[in-house]
Symmetry: C2
Subunit: 253 residues, 2 copies
């Protein structure tokens, strides 16, 4: 499994990906799932991937191949971000199709999902989710984030980020909180975590890694646990509607 | 979908079930998924159900039929709680098998899962999860709760209940918190919620309903949202490991 988050804020974009891959619980490895392409000073793309690792890697190699050609194409020439999403979707379906006959013989699925985000020229920065079938959706204005992989455990923290009207720094904290919740609940999602922060108009990504023993991760977990336990202990009483008792009459009644 | 929770505390058991059933998003209804059987003063059973509604109802009817017989069997005569779990498991597989040929023709699945909890005589109260195949597991000592249905969104709150060493009253609040998180994220889980509280040795269940507009539900949601937003705003800063920048050189550098 995998867990990748992309968030669109007023002042920029936040990307966070785990690095755990597994082919069965006895075959765990660490691979980057957050990839950056900056083929020209006026454009920056971030790709996050979930699904078949071989497909993901071949898609990345084909993107690099198109960029390295004497006459570069693909991410070097798209004029809009949605064209980058369609381009990645096309490569993804082509790669998956080229292996599907062999993979289906062993019951495997060669498909992959991607998040494509970034900015091209002066166009508004955005984030897209690219389905295994090659089509895409944008993040909505009401819920300006996207998730791929194991999305359920960490949704509360992302909803909270939106509700709390997060700026970029706050959104980073909430994305990491969402990642921690997920990694805690699902062994197939794990550190290190790759974090990318994009500020509108910069065409550059500040990127870094959070290791399992990073003071920032340890401190964030501690702060949440302390705060949640405090919350649990200060909740209002629950009073039933229509209360009644079934079963044995208690002694003395 | 469905969401049912059962928790085993030092001093008793807590049961909480939603009531929403759906056959597609355009066919939503409300059915009880928490059922109580108190066939004698020395025994009390709580059943929670997920899965095929028709199977669930036929299992309940067969339990009632066995209890109403001139010579009652089933829940009236089991000597241990695990025997009740096996009994429910046997009925469940029998009912599902009796309809499987017809159901499989329309691609439907007639299976159901159950939680069986309660107390028989002086035996320790316990909770069991009964699989569609008729076998069962107990809750573990480390994580003394069970979930059936849509289990992922609400797991954090149950983990927190354990971590915060909840007593029964506290566990009720955390179960309801877990239910609210889940109903918020998944439309197929919804109020009213049926709550049952069992105190060890009582052989009786305090039972009641929480409606969507119950002051207790509204107040609990408000308390959590306020507390979580406060938590989000007081989180420690995230500092990257290995920070670097990719892409265009920022102006002035």
């Amino acid at each position: 499994m995998t867990y990748c988050i992309a968030m669109r804020l007023d002042d920029g974009l936040v990307f966070l990906s785990d690095t755990r891959t597994n082919a069965g619980v006895d075959n765990i490895s660490t691979y980057r799932k957050l990839h950056v392409f900056a083929p020209a000073p006026d454009r920056l793309f971030v790709l996050q991937s979930a699904g078949n690792l071989a497909t993901t890697q071949e898609v990345l190699d084909r993107i690099a191949h198109d960029l390295a050609a004497p006459d570069p194409t693909g991410l070097a020439t798209v004029e809009r971000l949605y064209e980058a999403a369609l381009y990645v979707g096309r490569l993804s379906t082509e790669v998956a199709a080229s292996h599907s006959a062999a993979l289906s013989q062993v019951g495997a699925d060669g498909t992959a999902s991607f998040i494509v985000g970034g900015q091209v020229g002066d166009e508004a920065p955005d984030i897209f989710m690219v389905y295994p079938q090659g089509n895409y959706i944008r993040a909505s204005d009401d819920l300006p984030y996207l998730q791929i992989g194991e999305t359920k455990y960490g949704k509360l923290m992302l909803d909270l980020a939106v509700y709390a009207r997060s700026d970029i720094d706050q959104a980073v904290k909430m994305a990491v909180s969402s990642m921690i919740s997920t990694a805690r609940a699902n062994l197939s999602v794990g550190p290190p975590f790759d974090l990318g922060v994009y500020r509108n108009g910069s065409h550059a990504l500040d990127e870094g890694r959070l290791h399992a023993d990073s003071p920032a991760l340890v401190e964030l977990s501690r702060a949440w646990i302390e705060h949640l336990v405090e919350g649990a202990h200060s909740l209002p009483e629950i009073t039933f509607d229509d209360q009644h008792r079934e079963g044995a009459t208690p002694p003395g009644h």
